[in-house]
Structure formats: structure tokens, C-alpha cells
């Protein structure tokens, strides 16, 4: 059983790491043509070329980073507030609305929003993409934070006030200790959602809003293996970091035993 367990663990690890290894070797190798097993040259030159190129990769990176930060900050902040009011004044239809983004494809929502965005004059602009991404990220944050506002937080808030606390004390002692993990998870997840988004950017951005996902697909379409691998690695980096951070945040805090 132990051996079988180890075998499957190694298989899973291989399945995860093999494509990454392939991408890394594609990104640093040049002159690699069939039927050679290894590329002619392995060095960091392709990466230097990648960042120095005039294809707009740096612009795409900056755009993607900025959109991720804006979407995650705004949706987390407003999701925290909306989750609280949804929990306090729970009505069924409001909850249903919060879940809609999970049930509909981004492309469908993007297409539905397109006319509205044309009317508002934001179609084909970063604002239009941000609006659409916000709808999904905000729904996610709201649903996530609904669980935070429960009777325990209500009671802790009352307790802090009864003991002479201010609004700041409520935030510091009754909310933040229980919310900070969820807040960080929400920030990470919504940032990743925006970072990895392709559908909404391609539909609503109309090719005018550069992003790392669009760049990756354009390299794939034109058969630029080096650049496609490099874009893929750049695209993968935040999810890997995010995954590691999420794992450390979600690890149980206490492993001690009770004393009596």
C-alpha cells in the first residue's frame, strides 16, 4: 500500500513537473529541430531577447499586473462589505445573484456585456475589461466572505464593544484575526482570475488591451516556440506562487494539544 501510494505520488509529481520542465527547456534552448534530442544551444539569450523585443511583452506584463491588482483589491474590499450585508439581510435573490458568475461562461457574460460596454463607451478599453472581470471576482469574494460573517463574529463584535472597544478595536480583535486568511486568499484568487483571463479580454478588449494571455496565444498561433514557452512560464509564475502562499495560509494554525 505504501509503495502504491509512493508510485502514485511520483506519477502525480511527474505529471505536474514534466510540462514545466519541457517549457523551461523550450524557453532556454535555441536551434532545436527534429530529430535532435537536445537543442544546439542552451543559455539565457532567448530570455534576453524576449524582454528586449518590441512585441510589447513588457507592456502586456504591466497591463496584466495592473489589472490583476485593481480587480483583486476592489473585489476583495467590496466583497468583504457585500458579504456582510448579504449575511445580515439575507434574501434569496441576492444570494442567487452572487452565484451567477459561477454558473455562466465568461464568454457568454462577455458577449452579453458587449452591447452595454459599447453604449458606455468602454468597449475595447481597459476599463471595459476591468468591469467584466470585476463581476466575476466580486461574486467570488462575496460568496467567500459570506461565511466570515456568522454569529461568532457578531458576538465577538458585541463583546469588544461591551469591554469598551472602539470601531478600530472591533476590526483589530473581532474581525482581522478571523478574516485575514480569507482576505489574503481572496486577494490571491481574484488576482489570479484576472491574470489568467483570456475570454473576457479577447471579447471585450477587442485586441486593444494587451495582456500576457493574449501574447501567449499570439505566439502559439505564429509558431514562435521560444516566446510561447517563455510567455507560458511568465503566465505560470503567479499561480505557482499563489498556490504555495494559499497552501501555507490554509494550513491549520494549532497542532498542540489541549491541557487540562
Amino acid at each position: 500500500m505504501n509503495r502504491l501510494h509512493r508510485f502514485f505520488a511520483l506519477l502525480a509529481l511527474w505529471t505536474l513537473l514534466a510540462p514545466v520542465g519541457m517549457l523551461v527547456s523550450l524557453s532556454i534552448g535555441s536551434g532545436w529541430s527534429y530529430p535532435r534530442l537536445l537543442p544546439d544551444r542552451i543559455d539565457l539569450l532567448p530570455w534576453r531577447v524576449f524582454f528586449a523585443s518590441r512585441d510589447g511583452i513588457v507592456t502586456a506584463l504591466l497591463h496584466s499586473t495592473m489589472m490583476s491588482l485593481l480587480v483583486s483589491a476592489s473585489s476583495t474590499l467590496l466583497g468583504l462589505v457585500a458579504g456582510r450585508s448579504l449575511r445580515k439581510h439575507a434574501s434569496l435573490w441576492l444570494r442567487v445573484i452572487a452565484y451567477i458568475p459561477f454558473g455562466v461562461s465568461p464568454m457568454v457574460i462577455g458577449t452579453c456585456l458587449y452591447d452595454l460596454e459599447v453604449h458606455l463607451g468602454v468597449a475595447g478599453r481597459m476599463m471595459g475589461v476591468l468591469m467584466a472581470q470585476f463581476i466575476f471576482a466580486f461574486g467570488f469574494s462575496t460568496v467567500l466572505f459570506c461565511e466570515l460573517w456568522n454569529t461568532r463574529t457578531d458576538r465577538l463584535e458585541s463583546l469588544v464593544i461591551e469591554l469598551g472597544g472602539s470601531r478600530w478595536s472591533i476590526w483589530r480583535h473581532a474581525i482581522w484575526p478571523y478574516a485575514h486568511r480569507l482576505i489574503l486568499v481572496s486577494l490571491l484568487q481574484t488576482a489570479l482570475y484576472s491574470w489568467l483571463d483570456y475570454g473576457l479580454i479577447s471579447v471585450l478588449g477587442g485586441g486593444n488591451v494587451p495582456s500576457i494571455t493574449l501574447t501567449l496565444y499570439s505566439y502559439i498561433r505564429e509558431g514562435s516556440v521560444n516566446q510561447a514557452a517563455q510567455s507560458g512560464l511568465v503566465l505560470m509564475l503567479p499561480p505557482v506562487v499563489g498556490f504555495a502562499v494559499s497552501m501555507s495560509l490554509l494550513r491549520p494554525r494549532h497542532d498542540g494539544e489541549k491541557t487540562n
Partner: protein, 260 residues
């Protein structure tokens, strides 16, 4: 032979000390939808006493405590604290602390900091905080656990911590909603003893809700019985014990028959 009173000195009239009513409920009625939970409840809680309210589950005891704490608005009636309407005072001015069976501690703080919470909020000097917290921790027999995290404590220790924290906040009234009902028999008896000691040491005024007749008799200095949303107060312990509806006589009969 009677001794004539000196005429030169004025006579001292010593008026008996009238107990001061700290908490007053005036014709409190409450209903959830069409269900009437409290019917015209009036009550005075006097300084230094423990008023025990005995009653079965669902009879409205917790609702009455919630209204007394200002956590719920009654459908009609008025709550006064120190002769002033509860509604006209801020939560901090009211100085009412509510403790229930789930001793609510701040998990991110250790026992010392939990107990010192109200003193820290009031920006008391460090020496005073150390002295007073040290004293109260000795009183509740937790001096060896001062640096422990709340999750390292047993149910009884958690309850002691919550008690110590409440006492240091110097409340006008302590509202106790079946505070020991989740503890095992031994811890419960020890907490009852501790409660009696603390009440005497700190002159606590409290309303103690329980459904346990023995606990009521042990900790109470005055008694009331709640049934179907109506409250009946007793002029003496004897009157409470003699009333068949309180269940005290059943309890006495049971133990007599069991011991025979």
C-alpha cells in the same frame, strides 16, 4: 430605669440602606412573528445580588437577557440601567457584560491578554495592568496559564478566563446565560463555588439564567421563575423552594426517595 437622652447633641437617625436597583425591566413584551415570547415582564435587579431566573428551554430566558443587554429591541416596554433608559446610552456607557455557555475568548491573544483586554483598551498603565490581571488570575486559579493560548485551555479554564476578563471590565451588571451548562459535573461544581467567591469579593450584580434547580439554589441570592414568557419573582428563598412549579420540591423528594 430609662436613661434620658442628652438634649445638647442632635439625634442620629440611621436609615436602613435601601438596595439600589441597577437594572430595571418595565413591562417588556416581545414576539417573533406571531409567536409571543415575553409577556409584560417587569423586574428589578439590585446592586450586589445574583438574581437567578429558572426556566425550561425555550421559555424566553435568553431573549430576556438579550433584551436586557440591549442586543435586541423589545416589541414593547423599557429597559433602564441606573435609572436611565438603555436605548439612550451607548453600549460602552451601559457597562453590561453578557456571558454564555460558549466562553468567547480572543483566539489570537493569550490568557493574560484576554483578561487584560478592557484595561488595555482603557490605556491603563502597565504596572496597574500587571498587578490587577495577576490578582484576578490568582483568584480564578489561572496564574500558571497566563501565557497559554486560548485553544490550550479546557472548557472550565476558558470559562474562568472569560469571567476574569468580565470582572476586570467592572460591569454594572453581568448577564449569565447558562454559563456552566456545557461543563462536566465536577468542573461545574467548582465553577459554581468560584462564582460565589468572586461575587462576594467583587460585589458583582448579576442575572444568572439556568434550568438547573440545584445550580439556582447554590448561586442565587434572589429567585425568579420563567414560564411561557411570564416571569414570577419570589420574595424569599423559602417561597421559591415551597412553590411546586419550580421543581425544587420534586428534586428534594427524588433525593429523599433515592437515599432511603
Amino acid at each position: 430605669m430609662s436613661v434620658p437622652l442628652p438634649t445638647s447633641a442632635p439625634m442620629d437617625f440611621v436609615t436602613p440602606e435601601v438596595p439600589r436597583s441597577v437594572l430595571q425591566l418595565r413591562k417588556i413584551a416581545h414576539q417573533f412573528g406571531s409567536k409571543i415570547v415575553l409577556r409584560n415582564v417587569s423586574l428589578d435587579v439590585f446592586s450586589g445580588e445574583t438574581l437567578v431566573i429558572l426556566g425550561d428551554s425555550g421559555c424566553g430566558k435568553t431573549t430576556l437577557l438579550n433584551i436586557s443587554a440591549g442586543r435586541m429591541e423589545p416589541t414593547s416596554g423599557e429597559v433602564l440601567i441606573d435609572q436611565k433608559s438603555l436605548a439612550s446610552q451607548s453600549v460602552r456607557e451601559r457597562r453590561i457584560i453578557y456571558l454564555d455557555q460558549e466562553s468567547l475568548l480572543f483566539d489570537h491573544l493569550n490568557v493574560f491578554e484576554n483578561v487584560a483586554f478592557s484595561l488595555r483598551l482603557a490605556h491603563r498603565p502597565r504596572d496597574e495592568v500587571n498587578r490587577r490581571v495577576g490578582e484576578i488570575l490568582r483568584s480564578v486559579e489561572l496564574e500558571d496559564h497566563a501565557q497559554h493560548s486560548s485553544w490550550q485551555l479546557s472548557g472550565g479554564q476558558r470559562q474562568r478566563t472569560a469571567f476574569a476578563r468580565a470582572i476586570l471590565a467592572n460591569p454594572k451588571v453581568l448577564l449569565l446565560d447558562e454559563p456552566f451548562c456545557s461543563l462536566d459535573g465536577r468542573s461545574r461544581a467548582s465553577m459554581q463555588e468560584l462564582y460565589i467567591k468572586l461575587r462576594a469579593d467583587f460585589q458583582m450584580t448579576s442575572v444568572f439564567v439556568t434550568h438547573d434547580v440545584k445550580e439556582a439554589l447554590r448561586v442565587g441570592s434572589r429567585f425568579a421563575m420563567m414560564r411561557d414568557g411570564m416571569l414570577k419573582t419570589y420574595p424569599s428563598r423559602q417561597a421559591f423552594m415551597e412553590d411546586e412549579s419550580t421543581g425544587v420540591s420534586d428534586e428534594i423528594r427524588f433525593w429523599r426517595e433515592t437515599s432511603e
